[in-house]
C-alpha cells in the first residue's frame, strides 16, 4: 500500500569516499612537557587562591578598620552632644547667679540710665571709616548642620 522511500546516496559523498586513501602516514606527535604544564596550572591555581585569600583578608582588615572608625565617629558625636549640653548648663543664668553669689558678688540694684550731654560713638557718632556690615546668624554655630 505504501512505498518505502530509500535515501538516495548523494553523488558528492560517493566521490569523497572513492578519492580518500585507505591508509596515510600520521606524523609523530610532538612530545608534551607535562611537568611544566602541571606546574603552570598549580601556580595559577595557587596564585588565584592566594589572591582570593589575600583580598578577603584585606577586606576583613578594612572592615575592622571601618568598624573602628565608626566607633570613633560615634564616640565623637556622643562627646560633642555631651559638651553642647554641658556648655548650655554652664551658661544657665541660674547657675551663673549662684556661682557669682558664692564668689561674694551681690545682686545689682535697679538699672539707672544717664542722659549724656554730647554724643559718644556708641550713640551713633562714627569715628573713622565704618566697617562693612556683616550678616551674622547667631544660631548658626550650634545648629543641626554641625552636629
Amino acid at each position: 500500500m505504501t512505498a518505502i522511500l530509500t535515501p538516495r546516496r548523494s553523488p558528492r559523498s560517493a566521490t569523497i569516499r572513492d578519492d580518500r586513501p585507505d591508509l596515510r602516514v600520521v606524523p609523530e606527535p610532538r612530545p608534551r612537557h607535562t611537568l611544566g604544564y602541571a606546574l603552570v596550572m598549580v601556580l595559577l591555581l595557587a596564585g588565584a587562591v592566594f589572591g582570593a585569600v589575600a583580598l578577603n583578608a584585606l577586606a576583613a582588615a578594612e572592615a575592622v578598620a571601618a568598624r573602628n572608625l565608626e566607633r570613633q565617629v560615634a564616640e565623637g558625636e556622643r562627646e560633642y552632644a555631651r559638651l553642647v549640653a554641658d556648655v548650655a548648663a554652664l551658661e544657665d543664668p541660674g547657675r551663673i547667679r549662684e556661682a557669682a553669689l558664692e564668689l561674694g558678688l551681690v545682686p545689682s540694684g535697679p538699672a539707672r540710665h544717664l542722659q549724656l550731654e554730647r554724643n559718644l560713638p556708641a550713640d551713633g557718632a562714627v569715628v573713622g571709616t565704618p566697617l562693612p556690615e556683616v550678616t551674622s546668624d547667631p544660631l548658626k554655630p550650634v545648629l543641626s548642620a554641625e552636629r
Binding site: 576583613a60 552632644a81 549640653a85 548650655a88 551658661e91 539707672r112 544660631l139 545648629l143 543641626s144
Partner: protein, 643 residues
Amino acid sequence: MTEQPRRRRFTRAPRILTRTGEQLAVRRIRWLLVIYGLVLLLVLGQLVNIQVVQADDYADRSVRQRERVIELPATRGRIYDRDGDVLATSIEGATIYADPRGFRPSETADGTPVPAAADPVEVANELAPLLGRDVDDVLERLQRDAHFVYLGRQLDHEVGQQIQALGYPGIGVLAEPKRVYPGGGLAAQVLGFTGIDGDGLQGLEAQYDTILRGRPGALFLERAPGGLDIAPGVRELTPSQVGTDLVLPLDRDIQHAAEMAAAGAVERFDARSATVIAMEVATGEILAMASTPGFDPNRRVSGDEDAWRNRAITDVFEPGSTQKAFTVAAALEEGLVTPTTPFEVRDRIRVHSSTFTDSHPHPDSTWTVSEIIERSSNVGTIQIAQELGEQRLEAYLRGFGLGRTTGLGFPAESPGLLMPHEDWWGTSLPTISIGHGVAVTLLQLASGYTTLANDGSAITPSMVRGTVGSDGRLSPSPRSTSQRVVSRDTATQMQQMLIDAVSGDAGTGALAAVPGYSVGGKTGTARKPDPAGGYSDRYVASFAGFAPAHDPQIVVAVMVDEPYPIWGGVVAAPVFAEVMEAALIARRVPPDGASPTLAEALERARDLAREREEAEAGAADEDPLGIPVDDPASPPAGDPAEG
C-alpha cells in the same frame, strides 16, 4: 517445611549454571548503575527540593544566620531660645540590662549541670550603688524568672562604662538617647518633657513631638558568627533623620528673671503660686512664661505633677480690675465716653438685687473716665458698662480674646469662661465689667493688653519662632495674624489712662514703675470663687501693663495666687516692674523717661558715697572690724588672704 529447599534447588540451579562470567559482570554493573542512578536521583531530588521547592525558605534561613539589622535611633531635635541657647537636647545614656537565667544553676539539654555564672548577691551589691538603686531591688530583678530585665535606663554614659568594665556575665549595656534640659527648671512648664522611650509627654515636647522625634534609620549588614562584618557581604545603610530643631521666642535671661521674680513673690507674700508672661508687642512672641512652683524635668519625681502644668495657659482666674481696661476701651470705641467724660461716682451702687462697692469708702465724687481707671473704681466702671450694654460688652471682651483659646495650640490650653450674653442674669453686666463672673488665663490677659499696646490690633501669640532643619538654617514660622479690635485713637487714649494708673497721684500701680521708662498698666485684686458656691476669702492679685508706654515694646502680665497682702498693686506690681526692667534691658529698648545728665548723676553718686562713708563710720564705732558679720562679701574665717 521439608519440601521447600528441594523446590528452590530445582528452580535456581539451572539459572546459575547457565550464566557465564561476562554476563555476571554485566549484570552487576547494571545493578550498580541502577543504585548509582537511584542515589543520583535522590541527590537531584534533594537538590531540586532545596534549590527550587524550598529555595525561599533556605535563602531566608541563610540570610537570618548572617544578617544583622542594627536600628539607628534618631536624635531628637533640640530646642533653642531666640538667641540659639540650648534649652533641651539629647545625649547618649547607658541602659543596663540583665539576663537572670545566668544567675541561677541550670542544666543543658543532655542533663549536664551548668553552674550560675555569678553570685547574684555579690553582683547586686556591686551594681546597686552604680545604678542608684537599693541592693534588694537589684537582687529581686536578678532573681526574676525572665530572660531580660532592665536594671537601669538612661543612666550616665560613664556609669555604663564602669559596669561594662566589671565584666559580669549576663549583664549588658545598651546605648540609649537621653533627653536633658541644661537649664534644669528653666522654662520647664513650657518645654515639658519626654518619657523614658523618648516620646513627648508634656509641653512643647508633646505639642511638637512629630517634628522633634525624627525618623530612626537602620544598618543592614552581614556578619560572621565571630562578630566581624563580612566585608564583601551586603551592607545597606538607611540613615536616621535627625529631628527638626525648634527655635522659641523665649529669651533665656528674661525667662530667668521672670522665674526669679515669681519665686520671690511666692516666698515674700506666702502665696500659693505665681505666674508671669512677657510678650513682644509687635510680633506677639512670648519672651518669657514662668510658673512657680516649678520642677526640674531632669529629675522628675512622682507627686509633683501639679508643678508640671503651664499655669499661664492651663489655669484660669477672675481677672478683677485688670479687665476694666477692656470695658472702658469698648465704651470709648463705641463713642459713649471720652477720657474726660465725668461721672458722678458714689462708693456703692445697687444693681438688680446686689450692691457693688469700691474697695475703699469715699465721698460722692465727680470723676472722669480716666480717673475711674486711675482709682480703679468698681462703681464708675459699672456705670460705664451700663451705658455699653450686655451685647456690646460681650462682643468686645471676645474681641480682646476672652472666652476662646489664643491659637497657640499648647496642650491643655484653657479657653477661659465667658458666657454668652443671652445667658447673663441681672448682676452679670456689673459683675463681668469689673472682671468677676468671667475667667481668663494669664495668656489671654496678656494678649488683651498686647492688643491695647499694639494700637488696637489683636495679634496671635507665638511660642515658636521657627524650625531648623538639617541645613542648619532657620525656617521662620508663619507670621502671627492680627485683627483690629479697637481703633488706634481708642488704644492711644486707653494707653494714656493706663499710664495714669501707674504714675498718677491716685494710681494704684505706682509700684510697677520702672526707672527710666514710662509704664502703663492696671492692677487687679479679685476674690477667688468658692467651690461650694459664692466667693471665698482668698484672693488673686494681678497686674498687666506695657512699656515704654509711649511706644510699647513689651507687655508683662503677672498673677499671684492667694498672697498676703492681697492687693495687686502691692503684690503683683513689683513683680511686673522687676520682669519688665529685665526684659527692657535684655531687648535693648532705650529708656524714654527723664534720665539725669551725667553731671547730675555724678553729684548724686558723690552724695551717696558721702552718706555711705558716714554710715560706715558710725558702724565702725559699733563693730571694731568694720565688717558686718552677714556681709556676703566678707572674707570667710581662716581665709589665708586675710593674714
